[in-house]
Each structure stands twice: as structure tokens, then as C-alpha cells.
């Protein structure tokens, strides 16, 4: 009969010890790794915070060193001096720029004033020299000469009388009588500015209608003289609006302007 040897108590104990040991070792290992992880995690969080705070502190300190609170009295005095000097320089600059602005403004004002005056003068000169058509109150003198007895000198006299009466612009049959105009002709026709007229003449005059009419209607004046010629009739009618055409621009060939007379 085979005898079964049961494992002795020692063997069990041994096995149990071994398993127990093994278990403990793994448990310890697990415990250690858990512990290690917690250690690392908490330290890592701490260091993360430290890094973050360090940077924040660094920034704050940088602004603090730059701030004026931090400067020594000497530095502050120097800073104040520098700022005062800069301030003065800037004030000077402001004054300089303001003066320049004023000068420029005056200059442009002057220039525009001169230009305005020049334009006005130009306008006056153009009016006087008959370069512009004008209109205004005045008189219209209608002269009919069916017998063709009138001479150029009659018209010269007419123009003189009108100018003496304050005529500002004169035209004969639409031809402007300007400073350079002359009367020529004869034999019953009149030539003004190279234009020939005869028989009927309409003289438009801009000026004070009363004065002009008076200048012609004076006793022994031009009108009465003209009326003594055979067939000649003179009608003087004042008008609210007389239009006088523009004259031609004459070219000076011989006359030169004299500088500094």
C-alpha cells in the first residue's frame, strides 16, 4: 500500500510565506509607484506654480524699476531737468510754428488782396478801354441824315460833348468808340474803326441820362447845331438799360511801355 505523504506543515508554511512574500512585494511595488506618482504630481504642480509666479513677479518688478517711485532723488532731478528742457524746446517749436503759420497766412492774404486789386484794376481798365460789353442807364441818340451832310468832325464834337457830360461808354451803330477810335470819312459817310456808316446813326451812350441829355440839348449846343443842317434830325431818348458792345483789341506797334518814368 502506497503511503501518501501529505505535505508537511512546514511545506505549507513555506509556501504560504513565499506567496505572502510575493504578494507583499507586488503590493509594495504598487504602493511605491502610486506614492511616486503622487509625489511627482504634487511637486510638479508646486513647481508649475513657482514658474508661473516667477514670471509674473519678474514682469511686475520690471515695471516697478521703470516707475518713477523707484528712482533716486538725483535721478528724479535729472529726469525733471530733461523733461523741462524738452518742454522748453517744444514750446519754442510751438511759437516758431505759430509765427510761420501767421506769416504764411498774412502772405497768402496779401497775395489774394493784391490779386483782387489787380483783378479790379484790370476790370476797370478793360471797361475804360472798351474791351468789355457794358450796359446800364444812359441815352440813345438817333441821328438821321438823309441828305448826307454830316462830317466826321460833327461826330468828334458829339463824342466830346458826351464825354463832357460824363459818358462812360459810347457806341455808334454798335461800333464801340474807344480811346483809340477816330472818325474819318467825308462825302456823306463816316468811318469809325474801319466801319463805314451813312444816313442813319444810332449812338448808344452809358452814363447819367440827365447829364448826357443836357450836354447835347444846351442852348447853342450840338443838337441845335445839327438841326440847322438840311434834313438832319436828332432824337435823344433816355433809357433804363443801354447796351454798348465790346470794342476790338488794338495792337500797339510803336508804343513801348516806359519802365520807371
Amino acid at each position: 500500500m502506497k503511503v501518501h505523504h501529505l505535505p508537511s506543515r512546514e511545506t505549507f508554511t513555506h509556501l504560504k510565506d513565499a506567496s505572502k512574500k510575493g504578494l507583499h512585494a507586488s503590493e509594495r511595488a504598487v504602493g511605491r509607484s502610486v506614492n511616486e506618482a503622487r509625489l511627482m504630481a504634487s511637486l510638479a504642480v508646486g513647481l508649475l506654480l513657482v514658474g508661473f509666479l516667477l514670471v509674473a513677479q519678474w514682469r511686475g518688478a520690471a515695471t516697478f524699476t521703470r516707475s518713477l517711485d523707484r528712482q533716486s532723488d538725483q535721478n528724479l532731478a535729472i529726469i525733471i531737468q530733461e523733461i523741462a528742457a524738452e518742454n522748453n524746446a517744444l514750446r519754442g517749436e510751438i511759437v516758431r510754428l505759430q509765427m510761420r503759420l501767421m506769416e504764411t497766412g498774412m502772405e497768402s492774404e496779401d497775395r489774394s488782396r493784391v490779386l483782387n486789386e489787380a483783378a479790379k484794376e484790370m476790370q476797370a481798365v478793360r471797361l475804360v478801354s472798351g474791351l468789355d460789353a457794358v450796359s446800364g442807364p444812359g441815352i440813345v441818340v438817333a441821328i438821321s441824315d438823309p441828305e448826307r451832310v454830316l462830317l466826321p468832325q460833327d461826330f468828334v464834337r458829339l463824342v466830346h460833348e458826351l464825354r463832357a457830360g460824363g459818358a462812360e461808354a459810347i457806341a455808334v451803330n454798335g461800333t464801340r468808340v474807344s480811346a483809340t477810335s477816330g472818325f474819318a470819312g467825308g462825302d456823306g459817310s463816316i468811318i469809325i474803326n474801319d466801319v463805314v456808316f451813312s444816313r442813319t446813326y444810332e449812338v448808344s451812350v452809358v452814363g447819367d441820362p440827365d447829364n448826357l441829355a443836357q450836354a447835347l440839348e444846351l442852348p447853342g449846343g450840338l443838337r441845335s447845331t445839327l438841326l440847322t443842317f438840311p434834313g438832319v434830325n436828332v432824337e435823344i431818348s433816355p433809357a433804363e438799360e443801354v447796351r454798348v458792345a465790346a470794342g476790338l483789341h488794338g495792337e500797339f506797334v510803336y508804343a513801348q511801355k516806359v519802365e520807371n518814368p
Partner: protein, 114 residues
């Protein structure tokens, strides 16, 4: 150790990215608090090398020393002893260097350089 260096770098990067700046009035308080935090971290490293690290101790130490440090400076400001922050700075500075020395020695011991 690599993890810790990475954590520090990450904290610095976060600080740079978020562009936070401590207001002037808080500068001293936070400065001392940062010193306390550095001290706590060195203490934690030392403890971990010694094998006596306990996360509860570390976290509570970290929080209380930072808060207390700032509080001491605050109190100093309030009671007219503005130099009180010097005491905190000196204390934490000394502890930081002590811990650093211990860490160095423990590292040598671990790597067998002794």
C-alpha cells in the same frame, strides 16, 4: 526629475503666454510668497530623495508657507515695520540654501559619488 523640470518650464511658459503682471502694490507680498514656494518645492524634493515625502505634508506646507509669508509682509506693512519682509526673505533664503545642500548630498549618495 525630468517631469519636474518640464513642470517648471510649463509654468514659466504659461506665465509668458498669459502675460500676467503683478500690480505694484502686491509686488513685495508675492515676492516673498514666491520665495516660500521655491523653498517648499526644494523641501519636497529633499523629502522625496530621503523617502519621507508625504503629499499631504507637501501641499499643506506649500500653501501655508506661501500664504503666511505674504501675510507676514502684510502685517509688517500695517504695523509700520516694513522691514519685516526682510525676516521672511532671510528665513526662506537660508532654508532654500539648506535644502539645496541636502538635495545635492542626497543626489550624490544616490548616484554613489560619495
Amino acid at each position: 526629475m525630468l517631469v519636474l523640470a518640464l513642470a517648471l518650464a510649463l509654468g514659466i511658459t504659461l506665465g509668458l503666454l498669459t502675460n500676467v503682471s503683478v500690480p505694484l502694490g502686491m509686488l513685495t507680498y508675492l515676492g516673498v510668497a514666491v520665495l516660500a514656494a521655491i523653498d517648499a518645492c526644494f523641501g519636497g524634493v529633499k523629502a522625496s530623495l530621503e523617502g519621507t515625502f508625504d503629499d499631504k505634508v507637501f501641499i499643506s506646507g506649500f500653501l501655508t508657507s506661501t500664504l503666511m509669508a505674504a501675510f507676514i509682509v502684510f502685517v509688517g506693512d500695517r504695523i509700520g515695520v516694513r522691514e519685516l519682509y526682510l525676516a521672511a526673505v532671510v528665513a526662506f533664503g537660508m532654508r532654500i540654501f539648506e535644502n539645496l545642500g541636502s538635495v545635492r548630498r542626497l543626489m550624490f549618495a544616490r548616484w554613489g559619488w560619495e
